[in-house]
Structures are given as structure tokens and as C-alpha cells.
């Protein structure tokens, strides 16, 4: 029988002092529960340590099965029996595990169970030593938790640093990409925007956009669909994203203050929070303004080409080209051509803003003869002004008023390309950007040059056509008039001959006296002469229509020529009851082509006799102080209607507008040709009902005669002979 700890005497026993000491040890150890189980696992002894750790008093626990200390789960798993079986077999069992105190609380225990055998090896019971490790375990747990917490904190810091880095990287990426990106909160607050997005909205930087008051963005932007209709703000992809709907759209943004336009493909996507609600709306803007402009430029080229190829009226065509260029290729566009005197004539100007059209008219930069367009026409080389700044405008324009106009027009970029026909630059096309903020590049210049090339071709074609058409019309007119004019003298001849033939056939010829018969033959001869002269004249005119008039200058007395012509017309004048008076002080000499001046006088005096009626005709010749000579022929006829005066010197003018009058309409045309070839002028002054005065002013031609080598034959007055 194993004695209970209680039964161990305090002050020694028959076993001597050692036994007592051992009993004392057991009795006084409070940190360990040391007790004995009988062979069946019932508690047989108890010590103060056991009571302290497990809560039971000795009286309460002696005899109880030791399974009482196990947790319910362990008991259900028959762990108490298993342990004892193990000890019976192996002599010892050790573990750390949960045990239960009397009050039901658990504690972490270190347990050693040892088999107690007698000398014969018979199992007498079990010694069980239990130590409460709860505190240690708690300390360990605390330490472990602390370590874990620290690790977690370190991880969190690491994570945050990582995240911050990622965010910075993302930020950097978003800032540097070409796509515009904006992020808005559910309450429409803009929390992120990159520069690309800011530029698209007409701000200079993301910072400026983010700092702008909420309402300002849409106050300064107009948004359109591709077809040009306004795009409702509420349907913008960003707004739809706020309502949870991802979407995309092609949009055209117009910045109201500057008129700048940008095209963008916009997509919006919602960012949801953990519970599935929209947290943020992300908008991405992929700008394709340049591509769009490229497309539009080529559309412009295609349309302009069609227009250029389709019409032979090149002035109208160039106007159309200028109009087509706006707004697709330019904000304003102009066509200038060089007139004969080198001055520029603006054929057309088109401006995207109708209110600036008038201002843009004839506006050239820089002001004065160095204007880019002048240079282009002078050199035949295109000009590209990619960047025009206000500073440049201000520096080049001195007049405050002009400066204000320049700044209002606000050109930003410009191209001028030459229109070249044959080897000659005849004008230039100008393309200017302002409102759109667009900058022209070499690429654009290539396209502009192509337009100019096609326009030049069209001009060449039109000119060739016009000339060919003109030539055909001239020939037709000439033939019509020639045949018409020949018919009257031919009629005379024909009537005369057929009349004589009829008389001969009917025996009536004898009625005519020899004198009468002779008179008829003289007349017939005169008519043949007249017809032949007419044919010569027609040929002369025909030649002059297509060729320059070359003069055979000699010292000539104009008064003598005029007197001669008057003598030829005196009879005809007398027949109409008129007379011709000459006012000339004496000979009037000059270096002229005698036979051509005879034609001039013949035409003017002949017309006066023909149309002047019975009123007297006054011819006067006078010398001016500046080496000029004036010949005037005044008749008292019905005069020339005002509307015809401007065109009376045109070729075939009689045949078109004054059809009811005889004559070829060539006489006055010839007068002007001859006078112009001499470097002079021909004009008419007439009040209907009060006759007409034709004036010819001729330089005396001395310079032309003295310096023939250095004087251009067709040159008029004002051309220096250096």
C-alpha cells in the first residue's frame, strides 16, 4: 500500500530522516502537483501544489479517477486510459496539454506520469507530476503575438511603402501617357487629372484643371458628337460611369475662349467599392485630333481636286478652293494673284469666323512689301510659318490700330504656296490657322503644295481652254462678219451684172446710151476694187487678231495724212449734207507708221461721215507740251449710248451689241490697236443726242525712234529706256 502524502509524517518516521525530508519536499512543493494514482488510475495522494494548481482539496479528490482533470474532448477520446496504458507498457509518459481545474477553467500543464513498481516489478500505481505552464504559455503567447504584431506592422509598413511606390509609379505613368485620364468621385469631385486631359479641356496643366472651380470646366467647353450636334453633358462617359455604366464615345471638344478644337475617343468606367457601389469614375481620353485633321486635309484635297478638275472658270474655282479649305484645313484661307503691274489682287478670302472675314481681307503679314505672300510670289518658293506668336505679331506691326487687328485675327501658323503657270508664279494660296490652335507641319506643306500644283494645272487648262475658245469665237465672228460685209458690195456687183444680162436677153440694152453703159462698167470695176480692199482689210484684221502689230516708223506729218483722208470723204460728206472742217496750225511731225495712221484717220473720219448725219464734222490736230499729239474727230450725230461707250473699242462690238448697225465693228478696234502700239491712247466722249468726239493721243515717238535697241516695241509711256 502506497501511503498518501498526508500520511507521511512531518517529523520523520521509522525510515529515518531521509524519508522525512522527502515527505517534506512533497508536502511543501507548491509549484508542482505531485500525487500518486493507484493501479486503476484513481487518485491516492495529494499535495499542496496539486491543490494550488488544480483547486481540489485533498478530501475532495482522493479516490476520484484522474480522468477528472482532462478536458471533455480528451475524456471522450479516452485519453486518460490511453496514457495509463502507455505508462504500463513503457513506464513513462510526458506531455504538455490542456487540463481542467476544479472550477472548470483550463490551464496549460506539463505532465509526467511514471509507473510505480515494487521490487518484483509488480505495478503498484502511478506517480503523476503536473506543472501549471499557463503563465509561461501566456508569456510565450504574448511574445509570439508581439512578434507577430511587429512582423505585421513591418509588413504593413513595407506594403504601404510598396503601395506608395506603386501609386507614385502609376501617377507618373498616368501623367506621362498620351491618353488623358481623369478620376472623379461620386460627388463629381475631380481627384485626378493628367496634363493630357487638361490640355483637351483647354487648361495648360493638370494642376490648373484640378484647381479650377467645379462649374468652370463645362462653362468653357462645348462638346459635340461626330456629326456636329451637341453632346449632352449627362451622357458623357464619365457621368455614365458615375451611374455604374461603362461607355465610350467619339467627341469633339471646342474650347470656347480660344475656339480651339480637339477630337477625342472617350471611355468611362466605374470603380466599385467592396460592397459593389460606385466609388470612382475613371475617364480616358484618347485624342486623335491630328489624325482627324489628316483625314480632313485629305478630304479637302479630294474635294478641291474635284472642283479644280471640274471647272474651267479658274477664278471661281480658286474661290471655291479657298472656301473648301475652311475649316478642314485652315481657319482662314486666301487666294492672291499678281496683276500685270506686280500688285497683288486678292481673288478670295474665307474665314471660319464670318465676323473676321472682312478683317482678314487683304491682311498680309508681315505688313508691307516683305509680306510672306509677296516673297512666295517673287521667289516661287513656298513658305511655312509653323509658329506665329503674339510677340512676333507685335514686333512686326508698328501701327497700334494694325496691331490690334493682327492680335484679333491671331494667326498662329501659316503656309503660303505658289501658283505657278508655265515658269511664272502668278499668285499664291495662303492657309492660316488661328482659332483652332493648330500648327502646320512639313506634312501639311506637302499637301498645300499639292493643292497649289493642281490649282496651277487647272489655271493652265482654263487659260488654254479660254484661249482656244476665244480663238474659235474670234474666227466664227470674223467669218460671219466677213461674209456679211462682203455681201453688200457683192450685191451691187451682182445686181449690176444680172441687170445687164437681163437687158441684153430682152433686147433692152439698146435703151442705154454708151455713156450710161460705160458708167455701169466703171461702177462694176469700182465695186470689184472695193471688194478686194475689203478682203485685204479683213485679212489684216485677221492677222492682227492673232499677232502683234509691228510698226514701220518714219518721220510722218499727221496733218498731211488727215488732210488726205478728209479729201477722200468730202464727197460722201457732201452727199449727207455735211462738211468736214480741219483745225490744224501746220505740219505735226512724229515718228509713226504712216499707213497705220492713215487707217486710224480713215476709220475715225469715215465713221463720222457714216453716223454723223448732216451735222458738220470737226477734225482737229494739236501738239501738246510733253511731246504728245492729239487728234480729235467730232461729229454731230446721235451719239453713242453710255452703256456702249466702254466697249466700243472692242473687237466685233458692232456685231454683238449694235447689231442693227452696218460695219464690222472692227474699225475702232483697229484704231485702238494701232494707237496702243504707238504707245498712245484712244477714247470717246459722247452724250447721246449730242454727237460723239473720238480722241487719239499719240506720243511723238522720238524716243522710240532714237533708241530702238533699248526700247521694247510694245512698250508704252512710262517705261524707262535705260
Amino acid at each position: 500500500m502506497v501511503p498518501s502524502a498526508r500520511e507521511i509524517p512531518r517529523n520523520g518516521s521509522s525510515d529515518g530522516g531521509a524519508v522525512d525530508l522527502f515527505a517534506l519536499l512533497i508536502e511543501q512543493v507548491v509549484d508542482y502537483a505531485i500525487f500518486v494514482l493507484d493501479r486503476d488510475g484513481r487518485i491516492a495522494s495529494w499535495n499542496p501544489g496539486a491543490q494550488r494548481i488544480k483547486g481540489y482539496a485533498s478530501s475532495e479528490i482522493i479516490g476520484q479517477p484522474y480522468a477528472i482533470f482532462f478536458t471533455e474532448e480528451d475524456r471522450a477520446a479516452r485519453k486518460p486510459d490511453t496514457i495509463l496504458s502507455h505508462v504500463r507498457q513503457h513506464g513513462r509518459f510526458q506531455e504538455e496539454g490542456w487540463r481542467v481545474r476544479q472550477d472548470g477553467t483550463r490551464f496549460w500543464a506539463s505532465v509526467v506520469v511514471t509507473a510505480l513498481r515494487d521490487r518484483r516489478g509488480e505495478l503498484q500505481g502511478f506517480a503523476k507530476i503536473t506543472r501549471d505552464l499557463t503563465e509561461r504559455r501566456q508569456a510565450e503567447e504574448t511574445a509570439r503575438l508581439a512578434a507577430a504584431e511587429q512582423a505585421a506592422r513591418r509588413q504593413a509598413e513595407l506594403d504601404e511603402r510598396q503601395m506608395r511606390r506603386s501609386r507614385d509609379q502609376l501617377d507618373l505613368i498616368l501623367r506621362s501617357i498620351n491618353e488623358g485620364v481623369t478620376v472623379q468621385t461620386q460627388d463629381r469631385k475631380l481627384i485626378f487629372a493628367n496634363d493630357a486631359a487638361a490640355l483637351l479641356c483647354g487648361f495648360r496643366s493638370a494642376e490648373e484643371l484640378l484647381a479650377a472651380p467645379a462649374g468652370q470646366l463645362f462653362a468653357r467647353l462645348e462638346i459635340f458628337r461626330e456629326d456636329g450636334t451637341p453632346f449632352p453633358v449627362d451622357e458623357l462617359p464619365g457621368r455614365l460611369a458615375m451611374r455604374g455604366k461603362p461607355s465610350s464615345a467619339v467627341l469633339r471638344f471646342r474650347v470656347k475662349p480660344t475656339g480651339e478644337e480637339r477630337w477625342s475617343f472617350v471611355s468611362g468606367a466605374p470603380v466599385l467599392d467592396a460592397s459593389g457601389n460606385v466609388d470612382l469614375a475613371v475617364s480616358v481620353f484618347r485624342e486623335f485630333t491630328e489624325r482627324r485633321r489628316g483625314e480632313q486635309a485629305w478630304q479637302f484635297l479630294a474635294q478641291a481636286s474635284a472642283v479644280l478638275a471640274g471647272s474651267l472658270d479658274y477664278e471661281q474655282t480658286l474661290k471655291q478652293v479657298a472656301e473648301l479649305a475652311v475649316p478642314r484645313f485652315a481657319d482662314w484661307s486666301a487666294v492672291d494673284v499678281a496683276a500685270a503691274d506686280g500688285a497683288l489682287v486678292q481673288l478670295a478670302v474665307a474665314h471660319v469666323d464670318p465676323s473676321k472675314q472682312q478683317m482678314a481681307k487683304e491682311w498680309r503679314w508681315p505688313p508691307g512689301p516683305d509680306a510672306a505672300v509677296h516673297q512666295v510670289i517673287r521667289t516661287g518658293q513656298p513658305r511655312l510659318l509653323p509658329d506665329i506668336t503674339d510677340a512676333m505679331l507685335e514686333a512686326s506691326v508698328t501701327e497700334p490700330e494694325d496691331r490690334a487687328v493682327a492680335l484679333r485675327l491671331g494667326p498662329r501658323s501659316a503656309m503660303m504656296v505658289p501658283l505657278t503657270v508655265g515658269a511664272k508664279t502668278i499668285g499664291a494660296l495662303s492657309f492660316v490657322t488661328a482659332e483652332s490652335g493648330r500648327r502646320y507641319s512639313q506634312q501639311d506643306l506637302i499637301l498645300a503644295n499639292e493643292i497649289a500644283r493642281r490649282a496651277s494645272l487647272a489655271i493652265e487648262n482654263a487659260r488654254a481652254y479660254r484661249e482656244a475658245h476665244e480663238a474659235v469665237r474670234t474666227r466664227d465672228n470674223f467669218l460671219a462678219i466677213a461674209s456679211h460685209e462682203l455681201r453688200t458690195p457683192l450685191s451691187g456687183l451682182s445686181v449690176l451684172i444680172s441687170s445687164l444680162a437681163r437687158a441684153a436677153a430682152s433686147g433692152r440694152l439698146s435703151k442705154l446710151t454708151p455713156e450710161a453703159l460705160n458708167e455701169r462698167f466703171v461702177k462694176a470695176e469700182r465695186q470689184v476694187t472695193q471688194i478686194s480692199r475689203l478682203v485685204d482689210r479683213l485679212l489684216d484684221v485677221s492677222r492682227l487678231s492673232t499677232r502683234d502689230l509691228s510698226l514701220e516708223r518714219e518721220r510722218t506729218d499727221l496733218a498731211e495724212i488727215v488732210r488726205d483722208v478728209i479729201s477722200r470723204y468730202e464727197d460722201a460728206a457732201a452727199e449727207s449734207g455735211s462738211r468736214i472742217e480741219l483745225i490744224a496750225s501746220g505740219p505735226v511731225f512724229g515718228w509713226w507708221d504712216r499707213s497705220r495712221l492713215d487707217q486710224v484717220a480713215t476709220n475715225l473720219i469715215g465713221n463720222a461721215v457714216k453716223y454723223g448725219g448732216a451735222a458738220p464734222i470737226t477734225v482737229s490736230i494739236s501738239s501738246g507740251s510733253s511731246g504728245h499729239v492729239r487728234l480729235t474727230v467730232r461729229d454731230g450725230g446721235p451719239g453713242i449710248p453710255l452703256e456702249h461707250q466702254g466697249r466700243i473699242f472692242e473687237q466685233y462690238e458692232r456685231a454683238t451689241d449694235c447689231e442693227n448697225l452696218p460695219g464690222m465693228g472692227l474699225g475702232l478696234w483697229l484704231v485702238r490697236r494701232i494707237v496702243t502700239a504707238h504707245g498712245g491712247t484712244a477714247s470717246v466722249d459722247s452724250r447721246p443726242g449730242h454727237g460723239a468726239t473720238f480722241s487719239v493721243v499719240l506720243p511723238n515717238g522720238e524716243r522710240a525712234a532714237k533708241a530702238p535697241e533699248t526700247f521694247t516695241p510694245v512698250a508704252g509711256e512710262g517705261v524707262s529706256s535705260t
Binding site: 450685191s491 433692152r508 469700182r526 465695186q527 452727199e575 453716223y611 452696218p662
Partner: protein
């Protein structure tokens, strides 16, 4: 409708601005036995008629200075006393333009005396001597 009003015998009025043709035509008509009176334009012709002359036929050129053939014809048609005088146009103008003169016949230039006489005979049966 022809007569000797105003003391001028039955005659043909030739209105033509080209002097040679005018004279030639008058002489040729006289050689045929007619009396011809010449006028160098529409205005001169009107003056002749205003003096009371009533020709059996007017041979009318169209393109003339002072008063052309069309205007003369209009003036003639405006006046009931003169409107019935037969008018034959002599022209090198187109048929359309000649037709505008509303004449009894059109003679195209160059003229041939045989055709002129055919027309004259139709309107002046008593003229030929």
C-alpha cells in the same frame, strides 16, 4: 394699194445705206421699166412717205445707220396709212433676224436682179413700162 398720191407716179422705194448698191439697184429697176426712188436710211424713207408718196413696194435693207430697217418697219406698221405698203427685206442677216421685220418677202444678199424683178412684179403689176 399703190397710187399716185402726192403727184409721184407708181414707184419702188429703195432703202439702202450703201450708196453703190442703192444706185445700182435703182438703175437696174429703171432699166426694167420701173420708177425707183432711193433713201439712204429709214429716216429718209419716212420723210419720203410723209411727203405723201405711196410706193407700190419698199425694198428695205435692215442694217443701216440713223434708222435701221426694223425700226422703220415698226414706224410703218404704227401708221395705218402706211401699214399696208408691201415691204420686201434685202439682207445678209439671218432668217430669224430678217423675219423680225415682218416683211412680205426676204431677199438674201448678194441679190440677183431676176429674183428682185420677180418680187417687184408681184407687187407692182402696172409699174413696168
Amino acid at each position: 394699194m399703190t397710187g399716185n398720191v402726192g403727184g409721184i407716179p407708181e414707184h419702188i422705194l429703195v432703202v439702202e445705206d450703201d450708196k453703190d448698191l442703192r444706185d445700182t439697184l435703182c438703175q437696174a429697176l429703171e432699166l426694167e421699166g420701173y420708177t425707183a426712188v432711193a433713201a439712204e436710211n429709214g429716216q429718209a424713207a419716212l420723210r419720203h412717205l410723209a411727203a405723201g408718196a405711196r410706193p407700190c413696194l419698199i425694198l428695205l435693207d435692215l442694217m443701216m445707220p440713223v434708222m435701221d430697217g426694223w425700226t422703220f418697219r415698226e414706224e410703218l406698221l404704227k401708221n395705218p396709212e402706211l401699214a399696208d405698203i408691201p415691204v420686201v427685206v434685202m439682207t445678209a442677216a439671218s432668217a430669224a433676224r430678217a423675219a423680225a421685220a415682218a416683211a412680205q418677202a426676204i431677199l438674201y444678199k448678194p441679190l440677183h436682179m431676176g429674183k428682185v424683178v420677180d418680187v417687184v412684179q408681184e407687187h407692182c403689176p402696172n409699174g413696168a413700162a
